[in-house]
């Protein structure tokens, strides 16, 4: 029973998803569906809270899943992200009539899968959770059924399938080499491994990195992002840009720092991550500069931000036990990135609802038409650039400090110069909104739900920029699971 107790937060989301589908089938009234979804998310988060209060930690289902501080961090994060997206999607979902229930249900399943991914302790579990969350995302991406959305969905599906296959191949190799699928077991086998098997382990690690690279949106697996971000319905883009990436990094940290942490191959994949990080940042930022469509721009900016995450991952060097600073840095970055990106993307959703356009040029003069929307978007963009007094500023400083500690100075130099590139296109949006001529004299109204979500996100960015300590402490507790 304790195992079901620990698995309950995920289970609650899945049950709610089921209820939503039933509700959608039998009841004609659709307006209560988002609130039912939010209720499910709230119950799930509350259950996680009670698990924390009862100090319940441990394995679930024979170590397939692990409920530790790391998992709890994400058990709080993913429902929060899903909640914000749902609040932002209410107006959008109204247009979906007969498929509203599915929409909300899919969002819940994505969250559930992501939570499972964060607590996965076994290769097979990782695969199951990954597929759960990914397939739901493919469906969400193609939800609108118009040309762009369908193309986005299919592209996501095909590329996702290929990367999952790559991942599976790597996992198979790892199983073959170690004889077990449990992450701790793999770690142990790695320490006892014959150094002649190094190439085999490296191959396995590289394939796994490639498979996860798709989820993390890093170079050279980032091709899908701009197209999918542009084609998917905007609330889904918001969800993808945060939840999918967070899930990707959650599992990468687990796999690489628990399973593949032995000194046999660490130097290689650390170096690999460093190089990928440097290229991702640069490619993402350079390509984002010329984008005219804001969703596409966020697709490329996602690639660049993934590069920053990866700088943090690189810094979590195993050689010296001192570097859990970097691990908590990555987690802090994930949390602040969630707030920041959600704030920005929800603002974009609201703007799109009002003016019906995704072109940056149509954002001209937005500051006059809706000072509130423009301010939230501008503030979140400033956080993405990494300027104070935002949470994004601190996250960057923290990660760069960790990278300096790990003696990756060249990487930090590339990273800070990328801030410069990023400033160009983020500030451009701010410029268009504040300096441009308003395209129409009318003001813009945003729904109460989405305004609430945006406020919470923007406030989070501000508060954690001024008082980051609570979140840093939480990230630190979560990162302590990585004992070297």
């Amino acid at each position: 029973m304790t195992e079901i107790d620990r698995f309950a937060p995920v289970l609650i989301l899945l049950i709610t998803a089921g209820l939503l589908l039933l509700d959608d089938m039998f009841l004609p009234e659709k307006r209560h569906l988002p609130w039912l979804t939010l209720l499910g998310l709230l119950v799930s988060a509350a259950w996680t809270g009670s698990l924390v209060a009862r100090d319940s930690r441990g394995s679930i289902y024979h170590d397939m899943l692990l409920l530790d501080n790391y998992a709890i961090f994400f058990y709080f994060l993913f429902p929060a992200v899903a909640g914000a997206v749902i609040l932002g999607a209410i107006e959008f979902a109204r247009r979906m009539d007969d498929r509203v229930g599915e929409f909300y249900a899919l969002i819940l399943v994505v969250a559930a899968g992501a939570m499972m991914l964060a607590s996965a302790n076994d290769l097979i579990m990782i695969f199951i959770a990954l597929e759960t969350t990914s397939i739901s995302q493919y469906a969400l991406a193609g939800f609108l059924r118009d040309n762009r959305s369908s193309e986005a969905g299919v592209k996501y599906l095909l590329l996702g399938a290929v990367s999952t296959a790559t991942l599976l191949y790597g996992m198979a190799l790892l199983f073959g080499l170690t004889g077990t699928t449990g992450l701790p077991g793999i770690a142990e086998a790695l320490t006892r491994a014959d150094s002649g098997l190094r190439p085999a382990y490296l191959l396995a690690a590289t394939l796994i990195a490639a498979g996860f690279g798709f989820k993390m949106v890093v170079f050279p697996f980032q091709m899908w992002a701009p197209d999918v971000y542009e084609g998917a319905p905007t609330p889904v883009t918001a969800y993808l840009s945060v939840a999918s990436k967070a899930a990707g990094f959650a599992i990468v940290l687990r796999v690489f720092f628990v399973a593949l942490a032995g000194t046999l191959i660490t130097a290689e994949w650390t170096q690999l991550f460093a190089v990928i990080a440097a290229i991702s940042m640069t490619v993402g930022n350079v390509l984002a500069i010329q984008q005219r469509n804001i969703k596409r721009l966020f697709g490329y900016s996602s690639v660049a931000q993934a590069g920053y995450f990866l700088v943090g991952v690189t810094a979590v060097s195993v050689a010296n036990g001192r570097f859990t600073l970097a691990a908590s840095g990555v987690l802090f970055f994930i949390a602040t990135y969630a707030f920041t990106n959600l704030g920005a993307m929800l603002a974009i959703v609201a703007i799109e609802n009002a003016i019906g356009s995704e072109e940056i040029a149509d954002y001209s003069g937005l500051a006059k038409r809706s000072p509130w929307l423009a301010a939230v978007l501008a503030f979140c963009l400033i956080s993405l650039t990494g300027l104070p007094p935002t949470a994004g500023f601190f996250a960057k400083v923290y990660i760069f400090y960790a990278a300096v500690q790990a003696k990756y100075v060249w990487l930090v130099v590339i990273a800070v110069l990328n801030t410069l590139l990023a400033a160009v296109y983020y500030l451009n949006i701010v410029r268009v909104m504040y300096l441009g001529e308003a395209k129409a004299p009318t003001g813009l109204r945003a729904g109460a739900a989405i305004r609430f979500a945006m406020t919470v996100a923007a406030l989070g960015v501000l508060v954690f920029g001024v008082v980051p300590v609570p979140l840093l402490d939480a990230a630190q507790k979560a990162a302590n699971v990585f004992r070297f």
């Binding site: 036990g321 001192r322 570097f323 859990t324 600073l325 908590s328 400033i382 300027l387 104070p388 007094p389 500023f393 400083v397 923290y398 760069f400 400090y401 300096v404 500690q405 003696k407 100075v409 930090v412 130099v413 800070v416 110069l417 801030t419 410069l420 400033a423 160009v424 500030l427 701010v430 410029r431 504040y434 300096l435 980051p468 300590v469 840093l472 402490d473 630190q476 990162a479």
Partner: protein, 489 residues
């Protein structure tokens, strides 16, 4: 006390934000009140500052972020304070901001946002001068980006968006590299506390010390600016609105000089000694190049902008000598240049308000229509070229005395720079103010509003105060420079 001075403008900005009504002219009165209050507080601080005690005083301090993870500590403190070097610069900031607010009364579009960003900018700059924790310093350094970008690009003239973006990109490039240097330094020394960093001897690090030195200097060399990183300055100064030009030239450039003195040289004095000659060469280039370029300018504001490049060369020359006299001279030049160039930009702004042109060729004989502006323009011009009894003379004498020992050729070039500055300033004044009067300027009105006259007269008094009896200023600077010079010995 320092925290109050630091955050009062920000509170003022918040008040302006909450009182949304533009029609009652509230923003400008709120801004005036808050900036004046801040100025008064800083004057009080300047007076009660203990001139007998070395080191930092009036320190406000609490630990902001403290993380200990597996043996390493990451700590950022909120620590602000003043010493002999930073206090006059704080005074300069608050004074010039107050006068800028007065000069900005002529802004009539989006006044609420304008004054809001002006006050936020003031907090950022005071923060830079008073921060005693390196990460906090960096935070305040970055705070000035967004307000400057908006102030230049919304209320500027000409190619304002281009100038604003150029300003931001150059600054971010420099400060990004500085961040790397800060992080490496903090990791090597185990702390970000500036007081601790200046008193400890740093002998080695994970990268060569000179690399850290130049990474940190990157931001300051862009800001000062040092040729060839100066190309953002003419565009930014020329296209910004008057008050912003005043602040940019008067205060923001000094952030660069302050940074070089306090953060690069004071923390890595041994490394600094290796580069003294290079500094002197760059200074001489800046002085001469800046002055020569000025001679070709036809736009009044651009002329003064380039003269700023030249004058900041004097600052660098004083620093290059790495001695007590030279660095005190550099600091004094920063203050003097601040009030003088501030005044020059105000005069140009007043003229532009009336003639709506900055082309020197199109103006002539304005002294007849604008006697008040004309006379004070002359005073500012003479002050800028270093006439004795006016502020700049004191500073330049100290700089040359300090650098003559070590760098004779550069000092000679510096003096030639003074000669060139006389050339371009006198030429400019003669061309614009004297000569045959032109038809189109017949009906111009002189400066009569109180908010136009007060800044002009106030700055003139300040220039005279420094020029005639400089001890009230130079002694304070000396207090701050002495520890730095002793570390270099």
């Amino acid at each position: 006390m320092v925290t109050t001075i630091l955050f009062l403008p920000l509170i003022g900005a918040l008040v302006i934000f909450l009182l949304g009504d533009e029609r009652l002219q509230l923003p400008k009165y709120v801004a005036t009140a808050f900036s004046f209050a801040t100025f008064v507080l800083s004057v009080i601080l300047f007076v009660i500052f203990d001139r007998g005690r070395q080191g930092f005083q009036w320190i406000d301090h609490f630990t902001w972020i403290h993380l200990t993870i597996a043996g390493t500590t990451f700590e950022v403190q909120y620590k602000v304070g003043v010493d002999g070097l930073s206090l006059p610069l704080v005074l300069l900031t608050t004074g010039l901001t107050f006068l800028s607010v007065l000069i900005s009364y002529e802004i009539d579009t989006r006044t609420r946002e304008y004054f809001l960003w002006l006050l936020v900018l003031e907090t950022g700059v005071i923060g830079v001068f008073t921060a005693l924790d390196f990460i906090l310093f960096f935070l305040f350094w970055e705070v000035e980006l967004v307000p400057m970008y908006l102030l230049i690009s919304i209320w500027g003239t000409g190619r304002k968006e281009y100038a604003a973006l150029k300003f931001v990109l150059f600054t971010v490039a420099g400060s990004s590299l500085m961040l790397v240097g800060i992080l490496i330094l903090g990791f090597t020394a185990g702390t970000f506390d500036i007081v601790t960093l200046t008193s400890m001897k740093i002998t080695s690090s994970i990268v060569p010390l000179w690399l850290i030195f130049w990474l940190i200097l990157a931001a300051f060399f862009v800001k000062l600016p040092v040729v060839p990183l100066h190309t953002w300055l003419p565009d930014a100064h020329t296209n910004a609105p008057t008050a912003v030009s005043v602040l940019l030239a008067g205060v923001l450039l000094k952030m660069g000089g302050y940074g070089i003195l306090r953060l690069a040289i004071d923390i890595l004095p041994d490394t600094a000694k290796d580069f003294g000659t290079l500094f002197a060469i760059l200074a001489a280039i800046g002085i001469i190049y800046g002055a020569l370029i000025v001679l070709r300018q036809r736009d009044l504001k651009r002329l003064i902008a380039y003269s700023s490049v030249s004058h900041m060369g004097f600052v660098l020359l004083g620093i290059a000598a790495l001695g007590q006299v030279g660095m005190t001279g550099a600091a004094t030049e920063m203050f003097a240049h601040g009030i003088i160039t501030g005044m020059l930009f105000i005069m140009v702004g007043l003229i532009y308000e009336r003639t709506h042109t900055r082309e020197i060729a199109q103006m002539s004989g304005l002294m007849r229509q604008l006697p008040f502006i004309g006379v004070f323009f002359y005073i500012a011009g003479f002050a800028s070229l270093g006439l004795p009894s006016l502020a700049s003379f004191v500073a330049e004498v100290l700089v040359f005395l300090g650098s003559f020992d070590k760098y004779v050729p550069m000092t000679v070039l510096g003096v030639v720079g003074v000669l060139l500055s006389a050339a371009y300033l006198l030429w400019m004044l003669q061309r614009v103010l004297w000569g045959p009067p032109m038809e189109r300027w017949q009906g111009l009105k002189d400066a009569t509003a109180w908010w136009e006259r007060v800044p002009v007269v106030a700055l003139t008094l300040a220039i005279l105060a420094v020029g005639i009896y400089p001890r009230w200023l130079v002694d304070v600077f000396q207090m701050g420079i002495t520890p730095i010079a002793s570390r270099l010995a």
